[in-house]
Amino acid sequence: MKTTFFIARREFAAFFATPIAYVFIAIFLILSGIFTFFVGDFYERGQADLLPFFNYHPWLYLFLVPAIAMRSWSEERRSGTIELLMTLPITATQAIAGKFIAAWAVLLLALLLTFPVWVTLNYLGQPDNGIILAAYTGSWLMSGAFLAISMCMSALTKNQVIAFILAILVCFLFVVSGSGIVLNAFEKWAAPGVLDTVASFSFLTHFEAMAAGVLALNDILFFLLVTAVWLYAGLTVIEQKKAV
């Protein structure tokens, strides 16, 4: 437990020792602002909620989370520090958990720094802040799922660019699996059960209710499960292929 904390602390500091965290947070804030106020018609809707803000989070995470996670294992492989790390008296599970916690904390920080949007909303109207808190929680949970996928992809290769592209690809599949693009392809031949299964993997579907502030147990479980499964996949990759 303590070991995991030391690793997480090092990783967290590393994000801020290089400009990665600053760039990530800045871009996240700018883009979420643009989506909320310009694309999402925050003012024109005339409603005191943050739906236009949260609705775009899956699309933001799709590009930004792979960017922050691509370094996690690829860099260790490229620079050879993986050999140092894995010959310290720690388990691969502790290493993965530490890295995940650190990056997830950066994502939380980025989310918290969007507070001006919330302040604006409270200044303009009387929103239900419970709903907003629930939506924030949901968004953070979903970012964890994106992160677990991206870290698994990073574990696969020592090339950060490849890790980034692979991560976007897999994340994209999870995001759109509930949308028409994918479902139409299955509709013609697949059994309805298959169609439902594919659709049920969609981040969009599961996040829809969350963005509106409803934290249903099955949605929470879904994101936790996806996170756990992909973290486990990452663990398997690291244990099977430690050397390059």
Partner: protein, 303 residues
């Protein structure tokens, strides 16, 4: 005690280490020698639990490394090849992190830090990030992290690579002073290092053990071991030198005019040769006895 038995590792169809067996006991300072790609680093990676052997096993104090990995890794200090480190950290942060992860208590950690900083002369660079350091300093930081917890087993992959001659000497002295009652394995390309630091030499080529003995035994394999080389100030009749008892062969270097006399195995010819020189008043300018040329032995064994 480390016990390696029938250790093999292949990557796909490439066999990096092939059926390697040896024991290392406390007090041993083993020099791992071998050409590039001989399997030295791969063997070290298996000793430290980083790689899992394809077959065979490594035991430390009777426990298998790939079963009790974390527990055994606590006793090991390891400098991986190229001394990798987290480049964005400062030297101090990095050593701190290593001590923390190794589970050192605060008092112990501070003592360890102070000691390694002194031993490796890192005072001046403590607050510099590792990426800005010279190759020599990086290597020293790598060594510092390997010894910070005063491990019983020290495994160093090319510890003096990239250091200047003074630093090399310094690190060799350090290894010698650290090695009391410990078990040290170093890999190196520098053959002199083995005679200077180690009390056991092991040569590996193509993943197979080719030699295991003391550095002296290694030197003794050389044709030049105890060979006597003379330089004459002017041409003289030297054919008689070959008749001396114990002299096996003679070689005249046409360019330098040096004459080398090779002894028959196990013979010491310095005495008879000097006697002969005195007796026949040969015009000898210089005379020296070879300690054996390790390069020759190395080439002989590995090719």
């Amino acid at each position: 005690m480390i016990s390696v038995k029938n250790l093999s590792k292949s990557f796909g169809s490439f066999v990096a280490v092939n059926d390697l067996s040896f024991d290392v006991n406390p007090g041993d300072i083993v020099g791992f020698l071998g050409p590039n790609g001989a399997g030295k680093s791969t063997t070290m990676k298996m000793l430290t639990g980083f790689l899992t052997p394809t077959s065979g096993y490594v035991r430390i104090d009777g426990r298998r490394v790939n079963k009790h990995t974390t527990r055994l890794q606590k006793q090991i200090g390891y400098l991986p090849e190229g001394a990798p480190a987290y480049e964005e950290m400062t030297v101090y942060q990095f050593l701190h992190f290593i001590a923390d992860v190794r589970g050192m208590a605060k008092k112990e950690k501070m003592a360890g830090l102070t000691q390694v900083i002194e031993q490796l002369e890192l005072y001046d660079v403590l607050d510099q990030s590792i990426e800005t350091l010279s190759k020599g300093f990086k290597r020293r930081v790598g060594l510092a992290q390997a010894i910070i917890h005063n491990p019983q087993i020290l495994i160093l992959d090319e510890p003096t690579d990239g250091l200047d001659p003074n630093q090399k000497q310094h690190v060799r002295n350090l290894i010698t002073s650290l090695s009391k009652d410990k078990l040290v394995i170093i890999s190196t390309h520098i053959l002199e290092e083995v005679s200077a630091v180690c009390n056991r030499a092991m040569i590996i080529a193509d993943g197979v053990k080719k030699f295991d003995g003391t550095p002296l035994q290694l030197q003794q394999q050389s044709r030049y071991y105890q060979a006597v080389t003379l330089k004459l100030s002017y041409a003289a009749d030297i054919t008689g030198l070959l008749e001396i008892e114990g002299v096996d062969d003679m070689h005249v270097d046409k360019k330098t005019g040096e004459v080398t006399l090779f002894p028959a195995t196990g013979q010491f010819i310095l005495g008879p040769v000097t006697e002969y020189i005195h007796h026949y008043k040969l015009p000898v300018d210089r005379l020296h006895v070879d300690q054996g040329r390790l390069e020759d032995v190395f080439m002989q064994i590995t090719s």
